[in-house]
Symmetry: C2
């Protein structure tokens, strides 16, 4: 059959008729971006079929199975899960393979933390089983409370409380005359990615690092602890990787290349992402005796958490002995990759994934997201068996080893880098799911895709669309900018990307448009990375009845199907130009703010303002004198963004006109246009990457080294924040050139949509 | 001798020469407002003598004596203290008398609080003695933990946690579908004056009220609890009056008239300021079991304190039995009034005071302030004995019965209302003192007086002026407006007046310019109204060495002497006009904000925004529909303020010119001018007072009934907040007329300073 894609879909929808009658297209159904009106109607019919194939009971059963036993990377149950999921995909008609990598995954051999002064005390470092939680007693298979990629070590020193342990906190400590050289820092979780904290502590001379969960951020301050409520109990600690994700992601021994069995590996001591000092996570029950034993100044107000003691800074008199040793094993990681080949443009790949490994049982993280991917894949498989076939190829992935550093996704992306850069349209990630509001973060060109999908699914709690719920929430609780946009009825921007999940290699290393989605905000989720992240917890406090598991599958299913079937790939560049415009403005304001702050600080130092405002019984040192901030020329960037804005608007107008005319493009044009759109994001990368971090090739989104947070224009931002002015100017040029190149791609798209205009 | 005041002061200063040589006036010494340059130089010399007569050891000895035993109103030690202070004043040459009133002062006969469900538990209601605190064991003389003017009662009911118990909190509770009818509310201290909380609770139908001290506001969240540090320990509760101060102050039985022995008294049940339900204060140790036993929804984030439990709203299952009964005795109150008659204008009185009664030993509250008044009076007495005499009369007052409702000051002011309205220039209050930064709040016409005094005293910790320290502190930590003024070097405005201390009758009932001053901000003061407010606490955590006790005496001594000796009374009307201008702008913004909020709330209700943003498992009701806010004509007020601004500037210019010319005014003019200035503040009052509250006659400053907070333009503000639009318009007219009248007085002053201009 050689029907046009639109005709083909309509024929297929008609073929389904007896099974599920095709609803008449709503006369005023809103358009779908990238689809002609006729094709959009057929697509809606397809999506009705998709929804009909989604069953919460599937997800319940799969969660019971996947989260039945602890399943970190390298574990027997992790392998069982991979094999079992591969079987599922095959049974649904996917061409499925398991790809195996050999990755470094340290597990603890020795863990000891004891206070040696002013009193003797030994930390429990244990999460006790609960009668109310069926799987919490699987102690033989649980990884204990620890941080993967901590250094081995045996250190003794006084404690200093460093708040979140971010750069501003060390600057504040300096005002108290406190440094951490030779000390063991005690930091609470929050404020930055966990892996940053031991890095910064070591840079400041600390010999050890303890990360505790303060109930202010994660515990009884939020609500009733588990098992009475869903919040973190006194004994629960947060496992996690403390490798530095800002240099590169994935296996520390194989940066930039796949960790295949025969890959060339760095010696461990040369792996720069592994923490340089011993690091250990603590529950608040294990942190409280340490905090209580601290002396020295009372911490600044913002540093005080919810534990019932005055928070002191130290150093000492609390002094601890910390001893940690790991087995540094290479373990197998099993990625499951399932393929449904496209009928018309099989060389264009749409990828959807979630990881399957967990720190322990991981009902919420990651299983709640994994089962939504499975549900979607099963439903799409049913569509395919009914005669429909996607225009483009759809891939589903279940990644292993995400928890210790995105091992499965990164090694796969590195192994297949060349073909993925060539073929991958977009990567759509999730990493768990809960109950509540639609959340989407990603590259701005996918804003319209995400917005329309959330517009077209029904929130199970309210009967409104997911988009309407999100808009209502932002109107009441959003940032001022979000409130204004919600109030004015403008399209809602995506959230900014975070760090530390599986879209990173696709966006940052490959330059592929990526998106991360989930539902949440109403769950009671205080069991992250603990033994209590269990099916029992999930069923009571996260998504009882799996209603949002179905909604996530409906939402991402629409996005995958639209990416796979669109007449024109649904990239929208107007939000990209807007985001970049805001980012440039922010950086200009930041620079101006730094300039004013330098002037004001130096003036206040000269006028003794700090001394006069100070309490001599609790003295603070004045902040150090600041070098003045030179003028920085943002003009190249402003010019590039202005050009992109024009190109994006021209593209949007051309696509609108073409869609209204039924998207009847000249022969060959659609494929050429797809090629341009698929590749456009690559223009925003450069092979040498960010300064000192060649793995991070994307110039618009990337982590800053000081917090690990994903930021816009990270190269420029970091150079400014570190006061490397020449580098800032270089990075402005590089980003401006990339944006100009991106705009040229968009212009080429305009040329294909509106030849001769 | 009939020398001019300036000459007289110079002669006196010369007379002191042999004892303490007169320092040469600093060639660039800044001017003193209200003084000619020559007189200013002499005044500075006088102030050097004042400083020389201030000795920290005096204050140490007096504190030991006054705080040696518990001394609330009606107690034996309170009477002893009054008699002893009267003796001191007499020994320093003052014409001294004790004025006695008979005031209602309930003390507890029965106090019982027990939880009857879900578990049985009885509150301790006790503050145990500490070995580290000498006077904490004087249990026989201590008033127990209680609230004066609580209703007697015996009630049993479920608990509802109401946060601070202010109107916004009840509005929030309504969104949870929770009301307090038939319930006992549990409120934390903070957010509003204590006496407001049972009033609002009763208005909402509660049958009892428990006020606890949350360590977030007052306890370990701030620092180490006493005796390790100075912050509130687990067992310390906050005694206090819960009479409603927004209707009238002073003895509840004698509103508007002095509580002389033969005064006509209301029956107790007609005294509207007495709480209508039983109220009891709790330490956090006594509150924690109740909070822990509460169920129901988790409280909003802002409602959560620092106790180590999730804060639930209830109602119940915690259910308590509260039984309270007082002895409702009339007790004697002893005000000590000491007079130093003025030599030239004895009919113009400058009043300086502090209270002497305490809830228990009261080293900080009130003794630390009282001893600074004594020190000042002793030093001024020495000046007088050396031959100097003030131009105007100086009065020192030690008030009794401030703690249970300003009983001593109010009854004295009411008793002497006619003569005080006639003679009183200003009232300068303090109510304790600590360590740190200069604090002054009061009527804006005294801004320059306070600013110059703080400019002219040296901060004992830094050697800078007190004003320079304050400016530095505001520059770093002030509100945006304060930061800007501090940054730009503009004069610093006074703080806004609070409620609940002895300036209230003078300002609010008499219409006398009033000011409240102290030093503080660096103390560790977590023992307010507890048995631990002791000499031992003070010496370790408040003002060790009494250095700021001396500084306070220097500061208020300068203010009193300048008020007493100035050529022209040092009122400055420019800050008054500025304050009023800001207040009018604020009210306009508030009204516009209410209008926008009404529109937006109604729109959100119509669009189901609240439902869509809500978590159906933890539902919130939408806020009620709001009536739209009509246009309110602020033009009369704007016009009046504009006129006052012009008058104030003309007055300032005329006084400047006159001062430069040596203040050589025509005969008779100075006395006439004084008369105008002394009386000007009365123009801002009206006999019928605020709506429904005739005791509160001042139209510019007064308490709002919903929080007890002192606000500008309270009549207008309250009408707007209560949406009584016709009343708001009336109040705008009344305030505008008062401000016009005030401006006319200022104009008359201009006429006397610059006749014929």
């Amino acid at each position: 059959m050689n029907a046009s894609p639109i005709l083909r879909t309509i024929l297929w929808a008609l073929a389904l008729g007896p099974l599920a009658p095709l609803p008449a297209p709503h006369p005023s159904a809103p358009p779908i971006y990238g689809f002609s009106p006729a094709h959009a109607a057929a697509q809606r019919a397809l999506e009705v079929q998709l929804d009909a194939a989604l069953h919460p009971e599937d997800q319940r059963a799969w969660m019971e199975r996947l989260a039945a036993r602890p399943h970190p990377v390298g574990s027997p149950w992790g392998k069982e899960n991979a094999l079992w999921m591969a079987g599922l995909f095959r049974s649904w008609g996917y061409d499925t393979r398991i790809e195996e990598f050999r990755v470094l995954f340290p597990t603890p051999r020795k863990r000891r933390l004891e206070m040696v002064a002013p009193t003797a005390w030994t930390a429990t470092l244990a999460e006790p089983p609960l009668a109310e939680d069926r799987t919490s007693g699987q102690t033989a298979e649980q990884l204990p409370v620890y941080h993967a990629f901590s250094a081995d070590g045996d250190v003794t020193g006084e404690i200093v409380y460093v708040n979140f342990g971010v750069p501003a906190d060390y600057a504040e400590l300096a005002r108290y005359g406190i440094d951490v050289r030779g000390k063991i820092v005690l930091a609470r979780y929050g404020g930055a990615y966990r892996g940053i904290k031991p890095k910064l502590a070591a840079e400041h001379g600390a010999i050890g690092c303890l990360l505790f969960t303060d109930p202010h951020e994660d515990g009884y301050f939020q609500g009733d602890p588990y098992p009475a409520g869903g919040w973190r109990p006194e004994t629960a600690a947060q496992r996690g990787s403390v490798s530095d994700p800002t240099l590169y992601s994935g296996d520390p021994l194989t940066p930039g290349v796949g960790a295949t069995p025969d890959a060339k590996r760095l010696p461990r001591e040369e792996a720069r992402t592994i923490a340089r000092i011993p690091v250990l996570p603590l529950s608040w029950g294990d942190a409280l005796p340490l905090l209580r034993a601290l002396g020295g100044p009372v911490a600044p107000v913002e540093w005080r958490g919810a534990l019932p003691v005055p928070y002191h800074l130290g150093p000492g008199p609390a002094r601890v002995h910390l001893e940690l040793a790991s087995d540094w094993n290479l373990v197998p990681a099993y990625d499951v990759i399932a393929r449904l080949a496209g009928g018309e443009r099989p060389e264009e790949w749409v990828l959807r994934g979630n990881h399957h490994d967990a720190w322990v049982n991981g009902a919420s993280d990651p299983v709640s997201g994994m089962i939504a991917v499975l549900a979607e894949a099963k439903a799409v498989g049913e569509l395919a068996r009914s005669g429909w076939r996607p225009k483009r190829t759809i891939l589903y992935a279940a990644w292993d080893g995400e928890e210790p550093g995105l091992l499965g996704s990164v090694e796969w992306a590195e192994t297949h880098a060349a073909e993925l850069r060539e073929h991958l349209v977009a990567y759509l990630n999730s990493d768990g799911n809960a109950r509540g509001f639609f959340y989407a973060s990603g590259v701005p060109s996918l804003t319209t895709l995400a917005g329309e999908a959330s517009r077209d699914v029904t929130d199970p709690e309210t009967g409104a669309s997911a988009a309407a719920r999100l808009r209502a929430s932002l109107l009441l609780y959003g940032s001022p900018r979000e409130q204004k946009r919600a109030h004015d009825g403008q399209p809602l921007p995506l959230q900014r990307l975070g760090t530390g999940t599986d879209y990173t290699p696709f966006l940052s290393f490959l330059g592929v448009a990526a998106l991360d989605i989930s539902y949440g905000g109403e769950e009671e989720y205080g069991v992250y990375h603990s033994i209590y992240d269990s099916v029992d917890h999930f069923n009571r406090f996260v998504d009882p009845g799996f209603r949002y598991g179905v909604t996530l599958a409906q939402t991402s299913g629409r996005m995958v199907l639209r990416l796979a079937d669109a007449d024109v790939l649904p990239f929208d560049f107007v939000p990209y130009a807007e985001t970049l415009g805001q980012a440039v403005q922010e950086l200009q304001q930041r620079t101006a703010g730094m300039r004013e702050e330098a002037t004001e600080t130096n003036r206040r130092r000269a006028e003794r303002t700090y001394e006069l405002a100070d309490d001599p019984r609790h003295p603070l040192l004045p902040p150090p004198a600041q070098e003045s901030v030179p003028a920085l020329d943002f003009a190249p960037l402003e010019k590039a963004v202005a050009r992109l804005t024009g190109s994006a608007q021209a593209y949007a107008a051309a696509l609108n006109r073409a869609a209204a005319a039924g998207l009847a493009l000249p022969a060959g044009a659609p494929a050429k246009l797809d090629r341009i759109l698929l590749q456009a994001e690559r223009a925003l990368t450069r092979p040498e990457g960010l300064p000192g971090r060649p793995w991070y090739r994307h110039l618009i989104f990337g982590p800053v080294t000081s917090t690990g947070g994903m930021k816009t224009l990270p190269g420029i931002r970091e150079a400014i924040e570190q006061r490397r002015w020449a580098e800032a100017a270089d990075q402005i040029s590089a980003a401006a050139r990339a944006i100009e190149a991106f705009a040229r791609e968009v212009d080429r798209g305009v040329g294909l949509l509106a030849p001769g205009r």
